[in-house]
């Protein structure tokens, strides 16, 4: 027999001995029946508290017998003469049993409270472990393990599902043996998000899903646990929250990095546009000063005009690139507004004075042509690009035409065309003398135009013009027609 096995025997022997000692002591001192009754009662209560209800019950019967035998007349018999003594004896027995029971109940309650306190302390410790320090999942498993041990589980583990798939199990922490059946149980618990409880050699095995709302993100296993299911479920919930938090921290770090990259891009764009625009402004102002001085020297004037033209082309290219970058980076969105095509044509003329001075450019808007619903600055970039290209491929003196009308097929669109009498697009593709930016679809300028048109909800196209030359088309959404309700 083990030391533990001896314990009840010793307890009972000690209890009997203490009743005997009280009896002998009482007899020696010559205590009266009332006093010894109280002493017996106190001893029986103490023994009940110490040894439990069964021991207490047995000791109350033994004490009653001793009380009767040694202290109630006639002494040394179990007979009782006076009826009052019967009552005293019965009262003693009932009191000792009832109070004994109460004492035991109180003690059990205290023990349960103590257990709950320990559980809560453990859960608190776990929550602190989980939420104050961890930034990775490994310490999460260790913290859960510590909590399970404190709650009396002999073994256990924490399994997380990768991407919510219960068959892709990542074992974060595990103690004790782990067979294939464990993996299957874990997968089943994860799929159904329902806890499973199985009896085992050491107690009960709990498989608790880590669920917060939707699907299980993993399973917490507690083997041979003697603690309450509620406490284990609390642990599982805490771990589930911690896992979610982990995921969230990871995602927000990623988002933060993206935001930072975006902010960097924005400030870079801002800096570039400022740092390029300021010297360009200075250059164009000085060029105009030079133009004035060069008015008398035609060779010089031509050169200076060339510089002015190149400067403004450079500026437009930079603006186009920046606009494209801003649109793609999402730092600006197109701000469409109803825009009359005539306004766009006028703005083109202001942007390309040299083209309009050097050749005849006619602009025409059909009477029934609706306004375009477009970001004016984007549409302008596209048209300026078209006209510049048309000007460069057209022989000197050949006119250009700007034409706006309702789209012939789609009534909710506006078609704006730039027509030239250049070599047309088939010829351009065969020409080796032209730079790539003149070749439709391949040059930087047209690439920018295509991207800006697309951002405006429109499209561009290029085709040969009947009778020679090319037609560059920009199709844009039409602004909804609203009619004024006011009489003349």
């Amino acid at each position: 027999m083990t030391a533990k096995g001896w314990r009840p025997v010793l307890q009972w022997a000690a209890a009997v001995a203490s009743i005997a000692a009280v009896t002998a002591g009482g007899k020696l001192v010559g205590l009266n029946a009332t006093t010894i009754g109280y002493v017996f009662l106190v001893v029986v209560l103490l023994l009940t508290m110490w040894g439990g209800l069964a021991l207490g019950l047995a000791m109350s019967i033994l004490a009653t017998a001793c009380f009767n035998f040694f202290f109630l007349p006639p002494y040394y018999t179990f007979t009782i003469e006076e009826p009052a003594n019967w009552i005293a004896l019965s009262a003693f027995l009932v009191t000792s049993i009832v109070v004994g029971r109460l004492v035991v109940l109180a003690r059990r309650q205290a023990e349960r409270a103590e257990t709950r306190r320990r559980e809560i302390e453990t859960l608190y410790g776990l929550s602190m472990d989980l939420f104050t320090s961890t930034t990775r999942v490994a310490p999460l498993g260790e913290a859960a393990g510590r909590a399970l041990t404190l709650l009396g589980a002999s073994a256990g583990g924490l399994v997380l599902f990768e991407g919510g798939n219960s068959y892709r199990q990542q074992v974060v922490w595990w103690t004790g043996p782990r067979g294939d059946e464990v993996e299957d149980i874990v997968a089943g618990v994860g799929r159904h998000s329902q806890p499973v409880q199985l009896p085992s050699r050491f107690g009960t095995d709990f498989y608790l899903p880590l669920v917060l709302g939707g699907r299980a993100s993993g399973v917490l296993v507690a083997r041979g646990a003697h603690t309450s299911k509620e406490a284990l479920e609390s642990v599982a919930r805490l771990v589930a929250i911690a896992v979610e938090r982990e995921k969230y921290i990871e995602e927000s770090a990623h988002l933060g990095a993206l935001r930072e990259a975006d902010a960097l891009k924005t400030s870079l764009l801002r800096a570039i546009s400022h740092d390029l625009t300021t010297p360009l402004t200075s250059i164009s102002i000085r060029t105009e000063g030079l133009k004035r001085h060069a008015a008398r020297d035609s060779d010089l004037a031509e050169d200076v005009n060339g510089i002015a033209e190149d400067t403004s082309r450079l500026r437009r290219r930079i603006e186009g690139l920046l606009a494209m970058a801003r649109l793609e980076g999402g730092t600006i969105r197109p701000r469409p507004e109803p825009t009359p095509p005539g306004d766009l044509f006028r703005a083109v003329r202001e942007n390309l004075p040299r083209v309009f001075e050097s050749r005849s450019v006619t602009a025409r808007v059909e009477p029934d042509c609706p306004d375009a619903y477009v970001d004016p600055s984007l549409a302008l970039e596209v048209l300026v690009n078209f006209v510049e290209n048309a000007d460069r491929v057209s022989p000197a003196g050949e006119p250009l035409e700007l034409f706006a009308r309702k789209h012939p097929l789609a009534g909710d669109q506006v078609r704006i065309e730039v027509l030239d009498r250049g070599p047309g697009i088939g010829a351009i593709e065969n020409s080796s003398a032209l730079s790539p930016s003149d070749v439709p679809g391949r040059g930087l300028g047209l690439e920018i135009a295509r991207s800006l048109a697309a951002a405006s909800g429109g499209s561009i196209g290029l085709s040969n013009r009947p009778g020679g030359g090319a037609v560059a088309r920009l199709d844009l959404p039409a602004a909804p027609a609203i009619v004024a309700r006011e009489e003349v």
């Binding site: 625009t277 300021t278 000085r286 105009e288 701000r335 009359p340 202001e350 306004d371 004016p376 004024a484």
Partner: protein, 222 residues
Amino acid sequence: MVDDDPGIRESLSKELRSAGYETIAASDGREGFALTKARSPDLVLTDLAMPVSDGYELISAIRASLTTPIIVLSVRSGDPDIVRALDLGADDYVTKPFSVTELLARVRSQLRRSAKLLSTVLAFEGLTIDLDRRHVVQKGREVRLTPTEFALLELLATNAGRPVLLDQIIARVWHGAPATTGDTVRVHMSALRRKLEPDSANPRYIVNEPWVGYRFIAEPLT
């Protein structure tokens, strides 16, 4: 002229001087305001983004006590910055890089406006507007306008050469009526333009100022 970039200050001063104007240059808003107070120029040209004290600060400071015309030199067209500057009291803007010719035209227009006495008959090339008789003649033919259209035309023409904000139009023509939106303004404006413009492909009088409002572009006859 207020700009933090010495290159622009120097080149622009030179151009303005050769156009016959006298210039004073400052490198930030505070210095600009001090010089405006001390020398009372006829016109202020200012950049918006400047270290220490920016263009907005300068515009607010000037508008608190002076009516000196202000033209803003802005980096990007269609920027909310421009609307903000106009709201604060700037009279016009040009976007960098601008042409000197364009800037000089704006400067002339502002100087003329501030010097001009309020006349009741506004005359432009091919267009006469009699404000008292509410009579509009375009190339010899009378243009019949609705009261709203006339109010629009009056507001724009008395501010000829200067951008008028959508909000200002709503406040002045519709007296800030709550349901008035940019769309309402656009509808009446396009009706007005249909009646006024001889060729819609080449507007001569009124143009959209993207995201800002409208501008009356014809030069007043003197």
